[in-house]
C-alpha cells in the first residue's frame, strides 16, 4: 500500500510497536500528538477531569457560584462519566484495534483531528446547554462514539472468533444510554435523567471489567517478562463473565425496582464475583499483586468489589443510608484507577518504552485510593466535616492525574523513543 510503512518481521514478533502497518503519509504535516489515537485523548482526558472536578468541588463547597448551568449536579455526573470516559474510551479503542488486528492501520492525522474537535465541541456545548438548548447538545454529543465504532467496526466484525465483539457492543450500549439521557432531558421518554446516569455507572463498570481483562493480560505479562519471572498471567474469561453478569443484573434491577431488598444480595453477588477475578493474580512464582505497577491493577478490582459490597450492605439494613457516597468508590475508585493505570501503561508501552521505576506511579495510585476512601466514607464518619471531606478528597484524587500530565504528558507530544512512527 502506498504511504504506509510495514514493520519488519523482527519488530512484529517482539510486538514492540503494537501495530503492523502505519499510515506515514496520513500523519505527515500533523504535530506528533496526532500520530496515534491515544496521544491527544490521553492528554485531554486527565486535564479535563482535573478541571471539571476542581470546578465542581469549588461549586459544591460554595466557593464558586456556577450560574450558567441550571442543573449543576447533572453537569457534574454527565461530564465526569460521559465527558471524561468518552475520551478515555476513544484513546483506548483506537490504540487497541491496530494492535489486536494485523494489517489494521492506526487512525491518525486528519481523522484524529476531527475526532478531537468533535469531542471538544461536545464538551463546550454541554457547558453551554442552557443557551444552546438540549437538541443541539445531543446532536454534538451522540455521534462521537458512533463515529469511533464505525472506524473500528470492520476488523472486529470480520474476525471469525469475534474476540472484541463484546467491547464494541458495549460502546454501542454506552452510546445508547447517552442517547437515552438526552431523550429523558428532552422529555421524549418519561425516565428521570438521573436514573439514566445511574444505569450508566453499571455500564461503565462493565467497561472497566472488559478493558482491564485485556490491559492486565498485556501489562502483567510484559511486567513478568521484564522482571524475568518465568510465569504466565491469565485473565480467565469465565471469572470476568460472572462479574459482568452480576453487575449487569444489579444495574438492570436497580433501574426497574429501586430500593428493592433483592438489590442488597445482587450487589453482594457482584462483590463476590469481582473478588473472584483476583484469583488470576495468585501465581505460584511471585506475589505479584503487591508489586509496583501491579498492585494498582489489583486494587482497582478490590475497590470495585468494596463499592458493590458497601452498596449491598446499605440496601440490606435500615440504619445507614450512604448509597450515593458508596457509589463514589465505583466511579472515583474503580473507574478512576482504571483511567490512571491505562494512562500510565499506554504512555509507557505505546511510546516505545519499558515500564520505568518511577516512584510517582505508586504514590499517585495511593493518593487516588486515599481520595476515594475519604470521599466515600468521610461523610459517614465525620458528617460535620463534609465540606472538608470533599475538598480534601478532590485534592488527593486530582494529584495523580496532574502528576501524570507533568511527568509523562510530554511523552505524548514527543515522537516514540524507539524511533518508530506512531
Amino acid at each position: 500500500m502506498p504511504g504506509t510503512q510495514r514493520l519488519n518481521s523482527e519488530k512484529q514478533i517482539e510486538n514492540e510497536a503494537f501495530y503492523s502497518v502505519y499510515p506515514v503519509e496520513k500523519a505527515e504535516g500533523y504535530p506528533v500528538v496526532f500520530s496515534y489515537g491515544f496521544r491527544p485523548f490521553f492528554l485531554l482526558a486527565p486535564a479535563y477531569l482535573v478541571l471539571s472536578i476542581v470546578l465542581w468541588s469549588l461549586f459544591w463547597t460554595g466557593m464558586l457560584p456556577i450560574s450558567f448551568f441550571s442543573n449543576p449536579l447533572q453537569w457534574h455526573l454527565y461530564e465526569m462519566l460521559f465527558g471524561v470516559t468518552s475520551a478515555m474510551m476513544i484513546g483506548f479503542i483506537l490504540t487497541a484495534v491496530p494492535e489486536l488486528y494485523e494489517g489494521e492501520e492506526p487512525i491518525v492525522g486528519r481523522t484524529l483531528v476531527g475526532l478531537v474537535a468533535l469531542w471538544l465541541i461536545g464538551r463546550i456545548s454541554f457547558w453551554t446547554m442552557d443557551w444552546l438548548g438540549v437538541w443541539l447538545v445531543a446532536l454534538t454529543n451522540i455521534p462521537l462514539l458512533l463515529w469511533v465504532v464505525v472506524l473500528v467496526a470492520k476488523p472486529i466484525l470480520a474476525d471469525p472468533l469475534r474476540r472484541q465483539m463484546s467491547l464494541a457492543a458495549l460502546f454501542l450500549v454506552i452510546n445508547a444510554i447517552q442517547t437515552w439521557f438526552f431523550a429523558a432531558k428532552l422529555n421524549l421518554v418519561t425516565t428521570d435523567p438521573m436514573a439514566v446516569l445511574k444505569v450508566s455507572v453499571g455500564a461503565f463498570m462493565v467497561l472497566v471489567l472488559l478493558s482491564v481483562r485485556r490491559v492486565n493480560t498485556e501489562a502483567v505479562n510484559r511486567w513478568l517478562d521484564q522482571q524475568k519471572i518465568d510465569a504466565v498471567y491469565l485473565a480467565r474469561a469465565p471469572r470476568y463473565n460472572l462479574a459482568v453478569f452480576s453487575v449487569t443484573v444489579f444495574t438492570v434491577v436497580e433501574f426497574f425496582y429501586p430500593q428493592n431488598t433483592t438489590l442488597g444480595w445482587l450487589a453482594l453477588a457482584a462483590m463476590a464475583a469481582i473478588l473472584n477475578t483476583l484469583n488470576d493474580f495468585f501465581i505460584d512464582e511471585d506475589p505479584i499483586f503487591i508489586r509496583p505497577f501491579i498492585w494498582p491493577l489489583f486494587m482497582l478490582l478490590v475497590l470495585m468489589a468494596t463499592g458493590y459490597g458497601l452498596i449491598g450492605w446499605d440496601y440490606l439494613q435500615t440504619e445507614v443510608y450512604q448509597l450515593n457516597n458508596f457509589r463514589h468508590i465505583l466511579t472515583m475508585g474503580a473507574l478512576g484507577m482504571a483511567y490512571y493505570m491505562v494512562l500510565i501503561i499506554v504512555a509507557h508501552l505505546h511510546t516505545g518504552r519499558s515500564f520505568t521505576r518511577n516512584r510517582w506511579i505508586g504514590i499517585g495510585a495511593l493518593l487516588l485510593l486515599a481520595g476515594t476512601l475519604i470521599r466515600a466514607l468521610g461523610s459517614m464518619f465525620v458528617p460535620e466535616l463534609s465540606m472538608t471531606v470533599i475538598g480534601l478528597s478532590t485534592l488527593l484524587w486530582t494529584l495523580p492525574y496532574i502528576g501524570f500530565l507533568v511527568i509523562f504528558g510530554k511523552w505524548l507530544t514527543q515522537p516514540r523513543e524507539d524511533g518508530l512512527p506512531g
Binding site: 443484573v249 433483592t262 445482587l266 453477588a269 464475583a273 473472584n276 495468585f282
Partner: protein
C-alpha cells in the same frame, strides 16, 4: 506430612477461589428474596428474616446442643458406613463371584426408601439414637460399598505387573499404585455418603427422636415458625458445606494432583 503442609500452604488461595461459588450463592439469595416478595413471609421468609432468626437461635444453648447431637449421630453413621463399606467393597471387588453376588443385594437395599427404613428402625430399636444411626448406615453404606467395589475391580493389572517387574516394595506399591487409584473411586463415594448421612439423619430425627436438629425442625413446623425452620435448614447446609469444602475438598485436591 508433606501432603499436609501442602494442603495448609494452598489453603488461603483455595479459600479465595471460593468467591465464585459465593457469588452464585448470593444470586441464589436474590432469587429467594424475590420468592419472599411474591409469596409473603409466612410461606417463605426472606433471607434477611431467616438470618436474623438464625442469629437469635445461635444465642441459645439449645441450638448448639442439638447441633452436637445431630453431628454425632451423622458422624457415627457415616464412619460405620465408611469402614464397613470400604472394607467390604474392596473385598468384594477382588473376587468376581463376590461382586456378582453383592450387586443385587446392594440394589435391593438402595431400592428401599430411607423413610421405610426409619419405620422399620423405629419398630426394631424404638425412639433412640440407634434408630437414627441405623438409618444413616443403611442409606450411606451402599454408596461407599459400590465406590470401593468399582475401585478394586478397575485396578490395572498392567501397572501391578510393571510394579512387580521392578520389584517394587509392597509399601511403595500400596502408596503409589493401589492407593491413588482406589482413592479416586472411594473418595467421591465418601463425599456422596457424607451428604446422604446428613440428609437422612435430619429426616430420621424428625420422625424418631425428641432431640437434635431434626426434632427442632419438627417443633418449628408445629409452631408454624417458618423463619426458624428456614434458619435450621440454613444451619444444616452451612455445616455440610463447611465439612465438604474446608475439610474434604482440600484433601481431595492434594491427593488427586497426579491426575492433572
Amino acid at each position: 506430612m508433606n501432603a499436609i503442609t501442602n494442603i495448609l500452604k494452598e489453603f488461603p488461595r483455595y479459600l479465595w477461589s471460593g468467591w465464585g461459588a459465593i457469588a452464585s450463592l448470593f444470586l441464589f439469595l436474590a432469587v429467594w428474596d424475590l420468592g419472599n416478595q411474591i409469596n409473603g413471609s409466612l410461606t417463605l421468609p426472606s433471607p434477611k428474616e431467616t438470618f436474623i432468626a438464625l442469629w437469635q437461635l445461635m444465642q441459645t444453648a439449645q441450638l448448639w446442643q442439638d447441633v452436637q447431637i445431630t453431628v454425632e449421630r451423622a458422624l457415627w453413621g457415616f464412619l460405620i458406613s465408611l469402614v464397613l463399606g470400604t472394607f467390604l467393597g474392596m473385598l468384594a471387588g477382588n473376587f468376581v463371584t463376590a461382586s456378582m453376588m453383592s450387586r443385587p443385594i446392594i440394589t435391593l437395599i438402595m431400592g428401599v426408601p430411607p423413610i421405610a427404613w426409619i419405620v422399620l428402625a423405629l419398630i426394631w430399636f424404638g425412639m433412640s439414637d440407634e434408630s437414627v444411626i441405623f438409618t444413616v448406615v443403611i442409606a450411606a453404606f451402599p454408596i461407599v460399598f459400590v465406590g470401593a467395589l468399582q475401585g478394586a475391580r478397575t485396578l490395572e493389572g498392567d501397572l501391578n505387573d510393571m510394579a512387580n517387574s521392578f520389584q517394587t516394595p509392597l509399601w511403595m506399591k500400596l502408596t503409589d499404585v493401589y492407593f491413588p487409584h482406589m482413592f479416586s473411586y472411594v473418595f467421591p463415594a465418601w463425599i456422596s455418603a457424607l451428604g446422604m448421612s446428613w440428609k437422612v439423619v435430619v429426616m430420621a430425627e424428625l420422625l424418631s427422636t425428641p432431640d437434635g436438629i431434626g426434632a427442632s425442625l419438627a417443633v418449628a413446623r408445629s409452631h408454624f415458625d417458618s423463619a426458624a425452620a428456614m434458619a435450621l435448614v440454613v444451619i444444616m447446609v452451612i455445616i455440610l458445606l463447611l465439612i465438604e469444602y474446608l475439610l474434604l475438598e482440600p484433601i481431595k485436591r492434594e491427593v488427586e494432583q497426579w491426575r492433572s
